[in-house]
Amino acid sequence: MILTSSIYLTFLVILLFLYYIFPKKMQWLLLLLFSFIFIAFSTSDVKAYLYILYTVLVSYVGSNIIGDAKNEKQKKRIQSITVILLFIQLVFLKYLNFVGSSSINFINLFGVNLSWTNLSIIAPIGVTFYTLIAIGYVIDVGRGVSKPQLNILKHALYVLYFPQLTSGPFTRYMDMEKTLYSKHKFEFKNVCFGFQRIIWGFFKKLVISERMAIMVNTVFDNYSEFPGIYIVIATIAFAIQLYTDFSGCMDIVIGSSETLGVTLPENFDTPYFSKSISEYWRRWHITLGTWFKDYFFYPILKSNIFQNLQSKLKKVFGKKWGKKLTTYCGMFILWFTVGLWHGGATKYIIGSGLLHWFYIVSGEVLEPVFNKIVKILHINKENFLFKFWQIVRTFILVCIGDLFFRSTSTADAINMIKSLGVNNYTEIFKGALLNLGLDFKDLAIAISGILLLLTISLLKQKYKIREEIKEKNIGYRYAIWISLIVFVLIFGYYGTGYDAASFIYQNF
């Protein structure tokens, strides 16, 4: 089910109506039923239901056995087996072709001549999201942070709660159990605020993101015809597309959940206002970062291999650098995996993974040098211009990663970077923006939309926008929300005449 479709909105309205007239004790059961309906609308292959059932059963049985385990060792063993069983299915459904073809290519390096035929596997909607959520849950139970859920239906609801199936966010059981199964009285504010957020998500996705996509596709699909300035424009446009697409989706998801009184964690915090790459990752896809940190990075650092490595490095490079180098090694694996999670291709491993590892590590290693330069030049770090420069610098670095992410292959990305040398930058004053598939009127709407988004994002730093609007008189409030809805209805890219694509992260 596409979140920007009228069928989804109708689905949500029907759910809300039933939800608030349903016996409060049973509300969670209705959520489970509607989560299944949501999956049924999104998946036509019967096998997909078996995959989903597998995840629910494995994580349920595994977590309950862990809960009953007599000692830590047994706990660890069951936890590992459960995580591996869940992980194997994820690899099978999402990465089998990547793993298979990469393995064959590697074997072929030794003179063997094997080939790999890509298998067509239809994965259920949100498979990576609900599998990682289930893995996190099993680990939390193993750590004793969460108690195992004894009711399999309640457990199924946690894993398959429909708002998080499209693109996350990654939730933690200990946060969700408080809100997901509790009784929810009808709160007018929740429903209002939820729908307001949904409308804002529609605005980001349908008005801005879909228009940016046209410019992006024009250049990235024919980059040899669009060198220099066009690569710059398209890369910035893609950064905007990716943000408005993904955060728009999150607005719809979190807003939907808010109408039900179920609070989901935030996934974005105006990431393009970040002053460093580390900060950027604390503000972009927040729950993914937290998941990898908690369930992947820290366990790696605490593993015997890394503890031994740290001891050895400390001996060679000293205590400080020994610890740092071990962390950098762990981060390398972390970022490699984050890149791999985005897709089984080197462009993702570089663009969303190792390039960011390089930024963070080189930033840390060179920090003393930068500090010295700042000192010599008498630059005030608190100065607005310096902060602005830091934001611009971070945005440029992110854009380079995005260029890899969006390009068809790593080789294409490198070629595009090379073509930045073509000196056609003055074309920006000769209507270069109008050569990328959007006419003047569409471009005007896109730019107005971006400016509105920027204004709201800046205001969000100081104010709670929805709360502020709520305090205004009824005419003012109605005018704002009705105008926004009508604006999206008129200028949104949806329906006949347009072909609005699915959310980018829905495919992960």
């Binding site: 429903v191 569409d442 109605y478 009705i482 209805l489 008129i490 200028f491 329906g495």
Partner: protein, 475 residues
Amino acid sequence: MKNIVKAISFLVILIIVIDFVGQIFIPRWNDEWIATPIIKDFYDLPKNSLDVLAVGSSQVVRGFSGLELYKNYGISAYGIGTGQQSIQSSYAWIKESTKTQNEKVVCLEIKMLFEDTPEEQNRKALDNMKFSSNKLESIIDIAWKEKSYETFISYLFPITRFHSRWKEIGSENFIEEIKATNYRGYSLENEVSGNLDYVPVENNIPYDAFIEEERYECINNIIKYCKEKNIGLIFFKMLDMDWDIERHNRVEKIAKENDITFFDFNMKDLMNEVDLLYAADTSRNNHLNIYGAEKTTNYLGEYIKEHYDIEDKRGKDEYKHLDRQLEQYNNDVQNAKIVNIFNPNEYIEALNQKNFTVILVKNNLPNATTLEYNKMINDLGLDISKVYKSNYYAIIEDGKVIAEEGADQNIHLETMVDTVRPVIIDTQKASINFEGTEQSNFHQGFDVLVYNNKSNNVVESSYINFENGIPVIGR
């Protein structure tokens, strides 16, 4: 409670705004098929003022002229036909009509029993219909058939279908520019196809054509509904190149089973009875022209008058609006028909009709003494002694000569026609300058300008020449 009121008031305002914006975005189908005016004007009809409603496809728009029924039988009729209007939409319109009208007869054009309706044509039939259970039912039917919820929403809120037109929205979406007049659901067409390929349908094959289940169910619903409402139902089929005996048989079967009269104007016998000729009575797009529409509508009128007890509405105060419409219709028909006349006697007769101002300028025409020449001069009421001069002009209004001059030297006249229309005539150049525009054909003979002082428009410029003393009409 306060919050519920707030939520409901917000939703009501939102729906009103969305509907208002949607109305702006719905295309104005104001071309010669007048889909938008037909529906908008229908809603303006006085309550309980209809005797006969015709529904169906574009064949109704070009074949059923309601004002002919009023003119000749005193019947108040209206046609609701849009391009390829589905039988389901026709049913919706019959029901919609009975909400405000108490028609005695429904004439259902049945072409679309056998054809699918594309989306853009469904839009024409339904998007301008006021929201009602009829409309909702039709929308559900279409969405169900397409298995598309988005389709349902797009008919419910047209903005979701037409929002991509936002770049085209201009003044025309607020001020309606109508390109053809709506004569109670009829759009006038005077083109003559001259197509001789048409073969009338003969009753020579006993087979029936297939009707899709939903359409069959719908026609049965129409029959049932009309019976319940005590409305007479007539099936009819206009001249159509694509029609065949199998389809005829199928409809006839349904008609017989339900005791319904079916007029298939494609049947050889009926064509002969009505004096229909495809080449003369249709335009090039396989629809009836004004000549065909007059014949078929009057035939239906004759039948209705004979079989239904319908009071003659002519001369009644509450039907004065029909008199006004009829006056305009007659005038426009008159304009439309004259351009197709090539027979000199008929043409002279047409030029002498009321409402026409005719300007004739002689152009290099040798004097003749043939009977035909003299008859023409006489029929037009011209003075032959003046006509024989080398320079000559005449102005005829409502069949009477109001100005005429013949001279050996050039005549240059600057005058007014219809009080305010400046005309400059120059006999030497054979020029007829009407309101700053040259209208003469500069052809040997009499160059003619026909102006309609009722509709205030130039109807045509033609010439009357004499070849071997025989008059020839040219344009």
